[in-house]
């Protein structure tokens, strides 16, 4: 346990940038300068905490004791927290660059509001990652919900507004459940700190209350978009693409699954979860979501909506990993948070690039797009391979551990758990079913109306602006590098994620 001020400085970066963005609203270049500067400063500050964490220490930063005895408002950065913080802060920089390209290419209105809300959303997301206890987490969780609202309704069309209402109706209602669960936890145990192996005092409460409390937590983390409470997520696709990228890869939905893993591993603890049988219940929800979301995804023609359902599916991989309650399962779940972040953001950035260049939103219109936008579609293919868990991309790693985890769960928990191995495999298969047609359409189909040979030759390469192209290339490359690093063992190029996951898993199940 080390007392350091670094977490405070980390959270200050977006906190200072936000008002500055408002202040320089009339000068776009300076305004965006603040976003980028804050992003880089934040990322380096998060990196500076890495060595301490890798030593197995935990960084603590307490702001004040609250009126509730035993609950301090403050940050505690452990290995699991820093995984999320690293993902969020590194992707923020890339998405910021991309946003600049995207917003300026489309001449979007209200860009100041956009960048302001973006900074506040990151403030919320990083706060969740570093929270020391449930109360702190709740505060940032709600900030995240409110700050993403202006992003979702950015278009300000009636459809966008109704999407915004739905977004709020789901997420703030879920906030009520979360708040209740937080206070109930405090009422039962007198603490809300995230504790390795779970809060011991929680075990003495009655079984019924614990089960109800757990489902309150689950409802509270509706941001994880588990079915049947997922429909806010595809609806929120009406937002500009970089927002969807932020929502689906970095801040919002990851905050949801991050929270669920925190609850499973650091509030209830693996032993209590096993003895209550909650692991199986959670795994069933996750399995249901994985299969059904994939079936939904197959039916979508709008690219972003298909990606949204893919996200719902992938988030449930993480939930399932935690629910397996075995070392490998949790390892897979924790890895999947950054890996899915990188892969899914690649996909969304590609979708945005296609929209900016060609204005196309539906997959059926994208015939031949691989020829005009080869780099973008190559990146897209990498992301799609990763989603399906095919080796050159890092999605394979997390899926591998999840499968191992379900086999272990079969051995030590109950024979039923082997079902989830098959669920995982079927879900991966379905992933292939809906991603490969996109790649096929893009590269091998010819655009309608110009089916003849000469039309093909004349097509010129027309890529998105560099501001957009470079970020999506970087994320695609990283999606491969992560796996490469697992083999090479250099650690440095994958930001020590594997070591961090090992430490985090060690904290959960020694």
């Amino acid at each position: 346990m080390v007392e350091l001020m670094t977490p405070l400085f980390v959270i200050l970066c977006p906190a200072i940038a936000a008002p500055m963005i408002l202040l320089f609203g009339k000068r776009p270049n300076i305004r965006e300068g603040w976003t980028i500067a804050a992003g880089i400063a934040m990322f380096s500050l998060v990196l500076s905490m890495l060595p301490t964490i890798l030593d197995g220490e935990v960084i603590k930063c307490t702001f004040f004791q609250t009126l509730f005895e035993g609950v301090a408002f403050g940050f505690k950065v452990d290995a699991f927290g820093i995984i999320f913080a690293l993902t969020a802060s590194s992707l923020w920089i890339l998405v910021s660059f991309y946003s600049i390209g995207y917003m300026r290419s489309l001449h979007e209105h209200a860009q100041t509001r956009y960048f302001f809300s973006f900074a506040i959303a990151i403030f919320g997301g990083i706060g969740i990652a570093m929270s020391a206890n449930l109360l702190t987490m709740f505060v940032f969780y709600e900030i995240l919900t409110v700050s993403t609202y202006p992003l979702v309704i950015h278009d300000q069309t009636p459809e966008a507004l109704s999407a915004g209402r739905k977004y709020f109706a789901y997420l703030l209602t879920s906030g009520c459940f979360f708040l209740f669960a937080v206070i109930m936890t405090y009422y039962l145990t007198g603490t809300t700190d995230f504790t390795n192996g779970g809060i011991p005092a929680l075990g003495s409460a009655s079984r019924l209350i614990l089960v109800i409390l757990f489902f309150c937590f689950l409802l509270g983390f509706l941001k994880a978009a588990w079915m049947p409470f997922h429909s806010w997520l595809p609806t929120a696709m009406i937002a500009p693409t970089p927002v969807s990228a932020l929502l689906h890869a970095v801040a919002v939905v990851k905050a949801g699954v991050f929270g669920i893993v925190r609850i499973v591993c650091f509030i209830y603890g693996v032993d209590l979860m096993t003895s209550l049988g909650l692991g199986l219940a959670l795994a069933c929800i996750a399995a249901f979501t994985m299969i059904v979301a994939n079936l939904f995804a197959i039916a979508q023609d709008n690219l972003k909506r298909r990606l949204a359902y893919s996200t719902i599916n992938q988030l449930s991989y993480i939930i399932l990993g935690a629910a397996l309650l075995t070392q490998d399962g949790i390892r897979g779940a924790m890895m999947h948070i950054p890996f899915h972040g990188y892969m899914k953001i690649t996909l969304f950035l590609c979708a945005g690039a296609i929209m900016v260049v060609t204005g196309k939103k539906n997959i059926s219109e994208m015939a031949g797009i691989g020829r005009t936008m080869p780099v973008t579609m190559l990146a897209f293919s990498i992301g799609a391979l990763g989603m399906s868990g095919i080796p050159p991309v890092v999605g394979f790693m997390s899926k591998w551990y999840l499968c191992l985890g379900s086999v272990r769960a079969y051995e030590i928990i109950s024979p039923v758990m082997i079902t989830f191995l098959f669920v995982l495999l079927i879900a991966s298969l379905l992933d292939v079913v809906y991603f490969f047609p996109i790649i096929h359409t893009a590269f091998f189909k010819r655009p309608e109306g110009e089916g003849n040979e000469e039309g093909m030759e004349k097509e010129k390469i027309k890529e998105a602006p560099l501001f957009m192209l470079i970020p999506l290339t970087i994320t695609a490359i990283f999606s491969v590098i992560f796996l490469l690093d697992f083999i090479l063992g250099l650690n440095i190029i994958s930001m020590y994620i594997y070591e961090l996951v090992e430490i985090a898993v060690g904290n959960v199940i020694p």
């Binding site: 004791q65 505060v139 703030l172 708040l179």
Partner: protein, 514 residues
Amino acid sequence: MVRLILAEHFPVLVVAVSLLSAFTILIAGWVNKKTSCPISIATISVQLLMAFFIVNHVLTKGTIHYRLGGWAPPWGIEYVIDALNAYVLVVILFLSLICAIYSKRSVEKEQPHKIVPFYVVFQLLITGLCGITVTGDIFNMYVFLEIASLAAYALIAVAGGRALKASYNYVIMGSIGACFFLLGIGFLYAVTGSLNMADLSRLLPPLYGNKVVQAAFVFFAVGLSIKVALFPLHIWQPDAYTYAPSAVSAIIAATMSKVSVYALIRVIYSVFTLDFIRIYDGVDIAICWIAAIGIIAGSVLAIVQNNLKRMLAYSSVAQIGYIVLGIGLSPISAWGLLGAIAHISNHAIMKGCLFLAAGAFIYKLGLWDIRDFAGLGKKMPYASAAFTIAAISMIGIPPSTGFATKLFLIFASLKASEVLSSSAYVFVVVLLLSSLLNLVYFWRVIERMYFVKTEEETNGGEKEAKKADIPISMLVPMLILAILCIVVGILWLTQAPLPLINETFSRFGMGVMP
């Protein structure tokens, strides 16, 4: 040394200065009517300064007892200031100061011919409010309650037109409330022969079984419920808040109802004490249920309003429900009283800010119908921002003031579940549901202000919206309150208010904070 000795006299000075200032305004106004507002602001500043010294004195040296005219307590009037009054005094004086600064331009525009009478009555209202807060004598409390109420009736009627009817309704209901209060005092005097609160609380315990004492409690409760506009006794309140001048809506919503709540707390805990409630243990549950119904009913009624000020008025009905729910829970769990006390300042700040913003919309653009608000966020960015922050606090998004209250009250309800079993969970549900209802009616406004496109915008023209700036003297008070919505919200989470809470609890026999 001098300062410390003087602090003992501040309780009476706070009232006396204010009363004298009311007459000074009248005389000075004859000569030059522009002097009335500055005199009022100066007076309230001095009072606020005194209030700070009083707080300091109470927290360091303990409760202040001041004997008016040197007469010993049971016979003479005694002013008693403990942590609770000191806190309420600061809250109401601060809000009064904010409203006074704001009122200058607002009154000049809305009532150009009644400036002097306005400030005279305004100052009388503040005198009444301070008097209720500092006094330790129950009859004296009644007198000040009447002063404040009469001033409030007059201030509402200043606007003329429909406000006259609203004021008339208020007079009728308010007088009934005052009668009940007076009857309660009479009953207590009949059985004990005393009017001093501390004395009463000593004399009453043997008489708890007495029917007269029980009747007195009910009279107090009903009378003050009318004054605080607790559902279903709120019917005077929406009209009064809607048609009053902007500054008056703000000050009445922010301070008048809070002081009445304070009077309720004082009567319950300092006159009847906790033991009385514990004997009749259905009483507190009944209060809780009424409050819970009020919270939901007020919020639902607010949803259907199109007039912004009317919506805020119904929202106040719901918020008063929060405070009363806290009071009802407090015999079971001290956290309830903490929630109630916290919400006195929280609601004053939030509702004050909202009413000031609503007043600003009317002042500049004549907008009061929510349906006309499209594009307001661009026309009046600062006022809209203040409104938004306060609205977010009302919904209870952390780390705002509303969140702190919600946190305390939900925890109190959970604590109460040990005694009340399952019905306590109903209160938790009510509190959470209420914050969602708040979301519904406040977000409707915010959505329209910022995100719904105006007709000009949808018809193509990317015209830069004309900014309609309100005077600085109206803007700054609003922004201060908006900032306080966040700052105070964080303060309630920290241990900063601990001395205040412990002091109050120990006086009410609840022990120190758990």
